[in-house]
């Protein structure tokens, strides 16, 4: 499994990357492997406002459904509709398959709410 060092990770197995004040978010290699072949994504509406820790999306495989949380407060500015019908891309390229982007309320909140690759790997190894 692969955990790029230039990304941040959450305790709920999302990966994210700050681009200015926009947080790009998907699910980690560990998460896609645990869920198996993904077949449906429930995207949030663009414009929706989340508090830190809110459930923002759902990813569903043949086996199970899992919530995707927003680690910080913000507003949805884009969803990756290109994954509709191509949900398997999340399995094959989890870090290229972002789910949604949120304009974060406070950029400094991201670091505290997420883990670096080493800390995340240590967490999932437990």
């Amino acid at each position: 499994m692969n955990f790029p060092a230039d990304l941040r990770y959450t305790a709920h197995d999302e990966w994210c990357r700050l681009e200015g004040d926009v947080l790009v978010l998907g699910i980690s290699d560990f998460a896609q492997d645990a869920l198996g072949e993904l077949v449906h994504i429930e995207f949030p509406d663009v414009g929706k406002v989340f508090a830190a820790g809110d459930e923002a999306a759902e990813v569903e495989s043949v086996k199970a459904v899992a919530p995707v949380y927003s680690p910080v407060a913000g507003t949805v500015v884009a969803v990756n509709s290109a994954l509709d019908g191509n949900e398997g891309d999340i399995n094959s390229k989890p870090y290229a398959s972002w789910l949604f982007k949120i304009k974060v309320a406070d950029v400094s909140s991201v670091a505290a709410a997420t883990l670096d690759a080493a800390a995340y790997q240590a967490k999932i190894a437990r």
């Binding site: 198996g36 072949e37 077949v39 429930e42 495989s61 043949v62 086996k63 459904v65 019908g85």
Partner: protein, 347 residues
């Protein structure tokens, strides 16, 4: 691996979808040793089973298998079973793993000829491996010491399989594909698994876990106990009226209740083809014009169809093919249509 009825079983080996598609296109190997087996012996064994189960057991001949429901006195289903007629006075019943103890106790308790007809729980004596798919017959023929071609659907033979004597080789299954289920004396089962994988390597065989076992049966609209079948719902409601012989001589345990409930039972099992990719899961409400009219019993994305499919109990008046309903998927709407035919039927 997940615990299942006292067994540790794999949900998948490589992935639900590739395993499913391999079974449809070439062959799949399933370890279904968790299934229970009950031996029935006695001169009145046929008579006993005619009372205990729903189908016409008396119509079978040795070497024939038959699908049956075991019903309670309220007309609900205790379990669904396959009964293998070994001899005129001997049968082997294959029961669901999760119902093994319940079924055995039920059969013994309701045996109309105690002392004359003897039930023996052989669940610990048998392993069961299923080889299913278009290449299954060719693979099995490499391993069996008997000619398999003459064995028709729902027929079986005794034979030596992969060098193991005393196996039951049955042309039955739970996938919608052609193939065999082989009952193997339990101590010899491990090497047989390996022998099947080796014999099937050139035929594209893959091991298949519980996940694809469920998607395969669901595409073919086979009932699963605990989902479509339960202690409260009659076999008629579940759409297995074809094994429910209400008019057989003397009836059967539960037949009077099933007959009586025909007039008042207000829901039946339907097949739902769902728009979009949302997946309906067991227990989700089904709505018609905003009102709850039933619930989903099983649902998945059918890997062969690449569509979202489900089975659901709906109000009788809405069970007509073409009816449009909505599944409430965690508060989101998944529009769906009642369809007449199974989602998959092999050509």
């Amino acid at each position: 691996m997940v615990p299942f009825a006292g067994f540790e079983m794999p949900v998948q080996y490589t992935g639900v979808i590739p395993e499913h598609l391999a079974c449809r296109k070439s062959a799949g190997l399933f370890d279904v040793s968790h299934m229970g087996e009950v031996r029935v012996r006695g001169a009145k064994a046929e008579q006993a089973l005619m009372w205990l189960v729903s189908n016409d057991v008396a119509s079978t001949v040795p070497g024939q298998a038959q699908y049956n429901a075991l019903c309670n006195d309220k007309g609900g289903v205790v379990d669904d079973l396959v009964i293998y007629r070994i001899a005129q006075d001997e049968f082997l019943i294959c029961v669901n793993a999760s119902n093994r103890a319940k079924d055995f106790a039920w059969l013994v308790e309701h045996n109309p000829f105690p002392g004359e007809v003897v039930f023996t729980d052989e669940g610990d004596d048998w392993a069961q491996l299923a080889i299913q798919g278009p290449n299954a017959v060719a693979i099995c023929q490499k391993l069996a010491n008997v000619d398999l071609a003459p064995i028709g659907t729902y027929r079986f033979t005794h034979g030596t399989f992969a060098g193991v004597a005393g196996c039951i080789i049955a042309r039955t299954g739970y996938t919608g594909e052609d193939g065999f289920e082989v009952f193997i004396p339990v101590a010899a089962a491990g090497p047989v698994w390996d022998a099947i994988l080796a014999a099937g390597a050139d035929f594209g065989i893959v091991p298949v876990g519980l996940g694809a076992r469920d998607t395969l049966r669901l595409e073919s609209c086979y009932c699963l106990y605990g989902h479509e079948l339960n202690d409260d719902t009659t076999p008629l409601q579940a759409g297995i009226g074809w094994i429910t012989k209400l008019k057989k001589q003397g009836g059967f345990l539960g037949s009077a209740a099933i007959e009586a409930r025909k007039a008042t039972d207000d829901k039946k099992l339907v097949k739902l083809l769902i728009d979009g990719t949302r997946i309906a899961r067991d227990g989700m409400p089904v709505l018609f014009e905003g009102q709850p009219v039933g619930h989903v019993t099983s649902g998945t994305r059918g890997p062969t169809l690449e569509k979202s499919i489900a089975l659901a109990y709906l109000r009788n008046d809405l069970a007509k093919p073409g009816t449009r309903v909505v599944v409430d998927v965690r508060g989101k709407e998944a529009p769906a249509e009642v369809v007449a035919n199974p989602f998959y039927k092999r050509s």
